[in-house]
């Protein structure tokens, strides 16, 4: 089941942070906690770390595309061996630009895909998200029924209002 707690008004952010710390101390895993807002919040790593592998993915994608394009180009050049302008059949000089561009394309595409993946967008069966109005911050905790009390306490302690539970009770 999920517990949602809302935080409003001026110091919402501070209270959210407190709530998060509370939750972590009570042993809720980072992946069970979600913070909803309609502008980016800066949450310190020690409170709620979200590790990103995006740059790594981008590099891999780039390398992959680079290899592919080099292979493809050399294939096309040799598949119909027309020598033009006294250039060699396959030359890095003459095709470097193409390699570069396609490599970059690889980086761009993987970055985008990876963004979708990490953000979890377009994913089927996502738990119902609370509807956050401007200025409001909302914490969602996934917990088993026996933990729910603890979770609720910690949210209340942090001053969350309108705490509701949703999802099947297990």
């Amino acid at each position: 089941m999920y517990l949602n707690g809302e935080f409003r008004f001026g110091d919402a952010r501070e209270r959210v942070l407190r709530a998060l710390q509370e939750l972590r101390e009570r042993g809720f895993a980072a992946r069970d906690v979600d913070v909803f807002s309609n502008e980016p919040l800066e949450i310190p790593r020690d409170v709620l770390e979200r590790r990103s592998h995006m740059s790594f993915a981008a590099v891999t994608g780039a390398v992959l595309f680079c290899v592919l394009i080099i292979g493809f180009v050399s294939f096309t050049q040799y598949s119909y061996p027309l020598i033009t302008g006294g250039m060699p059949l396959f030359s890095f000089w003459a095709t470097g630009v193409v390699f570069y561009e396609i490599t970059m394309l690889g980086a761009i595409l993987t970055t985008f895909c990876w963004f979708l993946k990490e953000a979890g967008l377009l994913r089927r069966g996502r738990p119902p998200a609370p509807d956050v109005e401007p200025g409001m911050i909302c914490i969602r905790v996934r917990c088993r029924i026996e933990q729910s009390v603890a979770a609720q306490k910690s949210l209340e302690a942090a001053g969350a209002t309108n705490i509701q539970s949703s999802g099947d009770a297990r």
Binding site: I83, T84, G85, G86, A94
Partner: protein, 231 residues
């Protein structure tokens, strides 16, 4: 590319050339060049695969005229070739710089990149008032609008001579192949032949001291050799 059987080249003797332009008409007759009309000619769209550049040098009365027949130089390292995105122009194993009309999409990059400006573009589909089309040479394509065209060293004549030789199962000998311009030249200023064959007339002329090449400094390695005036 000289590992192949032939490597066609041409020598033009500027000492013999009289600038009579017989070659120009011969080329028109042989290669179905599109007819210009005053409008298109005024737009600089008249097509002459071979042209006779004329320059005046000095001032009257000590003035001289220089006639230089310029056709596709069939460069070994042709600047026009690498820039074509679709391989419509390329180098074949006989050293010819070939233009494949039906592959051409008309980027005209090759035309820009040709220092000799011997490439011509079909701005429209060509029209011949009937019955002028009866004169079309069936051995040569009628180029559709939107494609580049240029001197082919009369590849159709080369092919014919080769076929004849093959039919008679004999080797091609020097002088068997003559492009239309070479054939028509009254002063015999032009010589065509195989540069791979050291005995051929053209190779000997190319070796002779008078041989120079047009815009040689560009390193395009043209296969057309100009024999300068002896004086």
């Amino acid at each position: 590319m000289s590992n192949s059987e032939h490597r066609w080249g041409m020598a033009i003797d500027l000492d013999r050339c009289t600038g009579c332009q017989a070659c120009v008409t011969a080329c028109h007759a042989e290669n179905n060049l599109p007819l210009s009309d005053p409008e298109s000619a005024a737009k600089g769209r008249a097509v002459h695969w071979i042209r006779v550049d004329r320059y005046y040098e000095g001032e009257f009365p000590n003035i001289r005229v220089k006639h230089v027949p310029v056709l596709c130089q069939q460069c070994d390292e042709a600047p026009c070739e690498p820039v074509c995105p679709v391989y419509a122009t390329y180098h074949n194993e006989e050293g010819l710089n070939v233009q494949v009309y039906n592959r051409c999409v008309g980027t005209r990059y090759c035309g820009n990149n040709c220092p000799y400006s011997v490439r011509f573009f079909n701005w429209f589909d060509p029209v011949w008032p009937s019955p002028l089309e009866l004169q079309h040479n069936p051995d040569v394509s009628i180029r559709m609008g939107g494609v580049m065209e240029k001197c082919t060293f009369c590849i159709q004549r080369i092919k014919r001579s080769k076929d004849d030789a093959a039919a008679e199962s004999r080797p091609l000998k020097d002088g068997d192949v003559k492009p239309a311009c070479v054939q028509s030249c009254p002063a015999e200023a032009m010589v065509f032949g195989d540069l791979n064959d050291p005995g051929s007339k053209v190779s000997q002329l190319a070796e002779s001291g008078r041989a120079t090449r047009l815009l040689e400094e560009l390193g395009t390695k043209p296969k057309v050799f100009y024999l300068q005036k002896a004086t």
